[in-house]
């Protein structure tokens, strides 16, 4: 078989194919769909953090003009099962998550009733007429208190509030730390955050009773996962359910889980035989979209006199909120933290223990980085503490401890296998690009002059493109290791490539088209990528965990190869040449060295559908292929971030003076898109480090229910960023791609914390809590000295 022509599109700054529609207001987000006879849903959300529901009286609401129906938890229970996110993890307790509260509410904002009416205005009017009688129960507001004997229990079926526990252990960490030259310890606190996608969550269900088919349009990252679980919960055969996630306004992991409202609109639509739409508002988003990263980590790092790491020990507590989210479970965040804590370093002796604790808060779920923003904050913070005590340069300490070229593949103490990565290279690149020594010297001069200026560094590695060897979340029963592509050339020679992944801003319509066009040797204008629709695509789950470029890209390569091979065989037949002598490029198949002897891909496609008399003997007609790809272990991306910051001595605001990333995401498909992912990731990390925090009071009431309280960074708070690429093609994936959707957010909190600690080093202050609000810094600096 002939090799494809040299790649032309992969690696190029191709402007995105999705942009024209999104720039002209022609995107089609869930709320832009308005089928005839649509009813609009609104949810009554409880003001109580923890209470028994004694009575719900919805009669007055039902009687309002324009109201079609009101459902409560009891109605819902008749029509669907509660969600139970299962896991094979031993110390994990399965609990129920009903679509509408049953018997009791467990967090402020939990939905207790649902109205469907002719407009959202009328639906909200009706909410005011529903009377719910509660018996308030003591709130479980803080994770530390939740485990105390006699603490109120959220899920009676679990027995207590400890929903999961896990440990990774390797070597003899106690012995190693006892014999270490230096042990640094710290209690780190990473507060609660949430994704704040600019498009709030929304769902629109349509049910056709004659055929029994259900169509759900949802702002979902994982249409395949939602389809499968709805079939079970609603008892509808899978092939009669179609889940569509067309244009989605950001996801960042927060839209990767199944939400109660998605189930509820389906139930309502099936009951009423009319389309039912729910579009969340921002208050509902802050109240009831998954939260993230809320952890307390007590950690100790032991080093030898020369800085070599001898052991690492950590205890993690995570506040997983009120429910275990499907399909990832409450384990995803706390277990990822101990999985990834050792980072890109050689560590022989390690023990990480983690606990997931239920409280009266919105459920914890995946958010960009999952577990790793806290893990890297902790590990990089410990390394800087060690460097400071040893009088060593922090980059030198990291360079001494990185997993080296000769160590790959390297099995980490938590069992992850790292393939060839460029830990040392990205560090050296970052040092050079920043001018590390000069920047440090200048910061020291600024400090001598009375300013609080500091320089920080942080390195990390993230597991990406995970195949079937391990589940994305521990023990979860959903297959996350494969994706598929169907590539179909129609008789006119144009190409439709259908994927089970779903794009929600990553530009996958463009990057996958680049991969497919190169593989087939056709112009990108002739390729259309479809995604996010379970009725169109071969089986797939969706987009999460930095997997889509690796898995869908790999499947696209496989399917593209098949189509190319058949194209060449048909062309050879038409040209009376040998397939091996042909090259396909720019939509033409030509005899090598004789560019005038060619047929077009269109000629080939026409022949392919023209029947067997146009085809080589024995060949089946048609020109399409479906292939599945499983990268098995997956691969890894890594980066080093550096930042120069200044803490204002008057206002205690942290200003980022410089920000730099040296990253390696393997073979780059589109530099425009890669840079955009890094920029966006860093901006979220900056928000996490300096501004954003979900706050509940001691009664479990949410205090950050608007965007005036939960502070998403604006263009004025996000710094200009320099992004440098070290391109090490992955040895383990087709195409050499490494996923890279999350990295920016993983590195930014750690590097900002370290830079601020450097700025305040003379005051003896080391950052151990994020976000660094001016108030928090003021208390540390003024209150603490």
């Amino acid at each position: 078989m002939s090799a494809p022509a040299a790649p032309k599109l992969v690696g190029a700054r191709v402007p995105r194919l999705e942009d024209p529609r999104l720039l002209t207001g022609q995107g089609r987000y869930v709320d832009d769909h308005r089928p005839a006879r649509t009813l609009h849903a609104a949810f009554l959300r409880t003001p109580h953090a923890h209470a028994r529901i004694l009575r719900i009286d919805a009669e007055a609401a039902r009687a309002l003009p324009g109201v079609a129906a009101v459902l409560t938890g009891e109605d819902m229970a008749r029509d669907c099962k509660p969600v139970r996110a299962g896991s094979r993890m031993p110390a994990y307790k399965v609990t129920s998550f009903p679509a509408l509260a049953q018997g009791k509410v467990r967090y402020t904002g939990e939905a207790v009733a649902m109205v469907a009416a002719e407009s959202r205005y009328l639906a909200e009017d009706a909410l005011d007429c529903i009377v719910v009688e509660y018996e308030p129960l003591p709130a479980v507001a803080a994770m530390e208190a939740a485990l105390a004997p006699g603490a109120p229990v959220l899920h009676e079926e679990a027995g207590d509030n400890l929903l999961l526990a896990r440990e990774f252990a390797c070597g003899d960490v106690d012995g190693a730390l006892a014999g270490a030259h230096l042990v640094v310890r710290e209690r780190f606190r990473f507060h609660r955050h949430t994704a704040v996608c600019m498009e709030n969550r929304g769902a629109l269900a349509e049910y056709a009773s004659a055929t029994g088919t259900l169509t759900l349009r949802s702002s979902a990252q994982c249409p395949g996962i939602v389809r499968d679980v709805l079939a079970d919960l609603l008892d509808i055969p899978e092939h009669l359910i179609r889940v569509v996630a067309a244009d989605v306004g950001g996801g960042f992991g927060a839209k990767a889980s199944l939400y109660p409202e998605e189930i509820a609109v389906c139930v309502m639509a099936r009951r009423l035989g009319r389309p039912v739409k729910w579009i969340g508002d921002r208050r509902e988003d802050l109240l009831a979209t998954s939260h993230a990263w809320d952890e307390i980590v007590e950690a100790e790092l032991g080093v030898a006199a020369d800085g070599t790491i001898v052991g690492l020990r950590a205890e993690v507590m995570a506040d997983v909120g009120a429910y275990s989210i499907y399909p990832w479970t409450a384990a995803i965040e706390p277990v990822q933290t101990i999985s990834f804590l050792p980072g890109p370093y050689r560590i022989e002796h390690y023990r990480g223990r983690t606990r997931g604790i239920a409280t009266c808060k919105a459920p914890m779920g995946p958010y960009r980085g999952v577990g790793r923003p806290p893990a890297v904050f902790v590990m990089e913070g410990l390394l800087d503490r060690a460097a400071r005590r040893l009088g060593m340069d922090p980059t030198a300490l990291r360079l001494r401890n990185f997993i080296r070229a000769e160590d790959f593949p390297y099995k980490s103490p938590s069992g992850i296998v790292w393939d060839r990565s460029s830990f040392t290279e990205t560090m050296l690149r970052a040092r050079e690009a920043l001018g590390w020594e000069a920047a440090r010297a200048e910061a020291a001069r600024s400090r001598a002059a009375g300013r609080w200026v500091g320089v920080g560094v942080a390195s990390y590695v993230e597991l990406t493109g995970i195949g079937s060897a391990i589940a994305v979340s521990p023990g979860m029963p959903v297959p996350t290791g494969t994706e598929a592509a169907t590539i179909r050339v129609d008789p006119a020679g144009t190409v439709t490539a259908v994927f089970g992944i779903a794009s929600h801003g990553q530009g996958l319509e463009t990057t996958l088209a680049q991969v497919v066009a190169d593989e087939l040797g056709v112009p990108i204008e002739t390729v259309r990528v479809l995604h996010g629709d379970t009725a169109l695509s071969p089986y797939g789950t969706g987009t999460y965990a930095s997997r889509s470029t690796v898995l869908a890209g790999g499947a696209g390569i496989l399917a593209g190869r098949d189509v190319r091979e058949k194209t060449l065989r048909i062309a050879a037949h038409l040209l009376e040449a040998h397939p091996a002598d042909l090259v396909v490029q720019d939509g033409r198949v030509a005899v090598r060295g004789l560019p005038d002897r060619y047929v077009t891909v269109r000629d080939v496609a026409k022949a392919a559908y023209g029947g067997v008399r146009h085809l080589p003997r024995g060949m089946e007609p048609g020109l399409e292929a479906t292939r599945f790809y499983d990268p098995y272990y997956g691969t890894a991306s890594n980066a080093t971030h550096m930042a120069v910051v200044e803490v204002d001595r008057e206002t205690f605001h942290v200003r980022i003076l410089r920000y730099l990333v040296a990253e390696d995401c393997g073979r780059i498909i589109n530099p425009l898109v890669v840079d955009g992912q890094v920029h966006g990731g860093v901006a979220q990390g900056v928000g996490a480090a300096l501004l954003e925090e979900i706050v509940y009071d001691g009664e479990g009431q949410l205090l950050t229910g608007t965007l005036m309280d939960y502070l998403v960074p604006t263009a004025s708070e996000v710094p200009a960023m320099e992004v440098h690429h070290v391109e090490t093609p992955s040895p383990t994936t087709l195409g050499g791609f490494r996923g890279m959707g999350e990295g920016g957010t993983i590195g930014a909190p750690a590097v900002i914390a370290n830079a601020v600690s450097d700025a305040l080093a003379e005051l003896g202050i080391e950052v151990n809590e994020l976000p660094l609000s001016p108030e928090r810094l003021f208390r540390r600096i003024v209150g603490g000295s």
């Binding site: 002209t24 995107g27 704040v196 306004g249 508002d281 955009g676 966006g680 263009a715």
Partner: protein, 166 residues
């Protein structure tokens, strides 16, 4: 059912008349009654800027206005930017510089930037950042947007301003 009011206004150069409840938000009127779904809703409390339109020539948040307040007004929405099938130079610049990812903030960002460039045709980077800080974007980290707005300023004819310290 509540009494209905008549709203007459011009959107993207076209005259429209609609009847709605007095409490109806302008953004809902645009999206539902006029079926112009390009204008987005991100917060409904005037912070995110996704719903920004040009109201009688000035950037305004259509989620904190009532439709009745727009009676007799002239409105420009994102749907009105393209002329004769050609992208507006600002839209072109967003595409060229990757100023959008999910596209949800984009309509509000474009309308805000358009208004900003009218009052400041050749801004510095810091001025652009300040100017677009009225709109939240969760995807791009703003870098592509800042580059796009500055490039559009150049195409739209703003002379480069001598920058000091940026």
């Amino acid at each position: 059912m509540a009494e209905m009011v008549t709203v007459r206004l011009k959107v993207n150069g076209v005259a429209h008349e609609g009847r709605c409840e007095p409490r109806k938000l302008l953004v809902d009127f645009l999206r539902e009654d006029l079926e112009l779904t390009g204008t987005h809703i991100g917060c409904e409390h005037g912070i995110c800027g996704a719903c920004t339109i040009l109201f009688n020539g000035e950037a305004a948040r259509s989620c904190i206005m009532l439709a009745v307040q727009a009676d007799g007004s002239e409105i420009l929405t994102v749907e009105g930017l393209m002329q004769n099938g050609t992208l507006h130079p600002l839209q072109e610049a967003f595409r060229e510089h990757h100023g959008l990812q999910c596209g949800f903030c984009t309509p509000g960002m474009l309308m805000t930037a358009l208004d900003f460039l009218k009052t400041n045709p050749s801004p510095t980077e810091a001025e652009v950042r300040e100017g677009i800080s009225a709109v939240l974007c969760r995807c791009t980290g703003y870098q592509g947007i800042v580059n796009a707005v500055r490039a559009a300023a150049r195409t739209l004819g703003g002379a480069a301003k001598v920058e000091s310290g940026t």
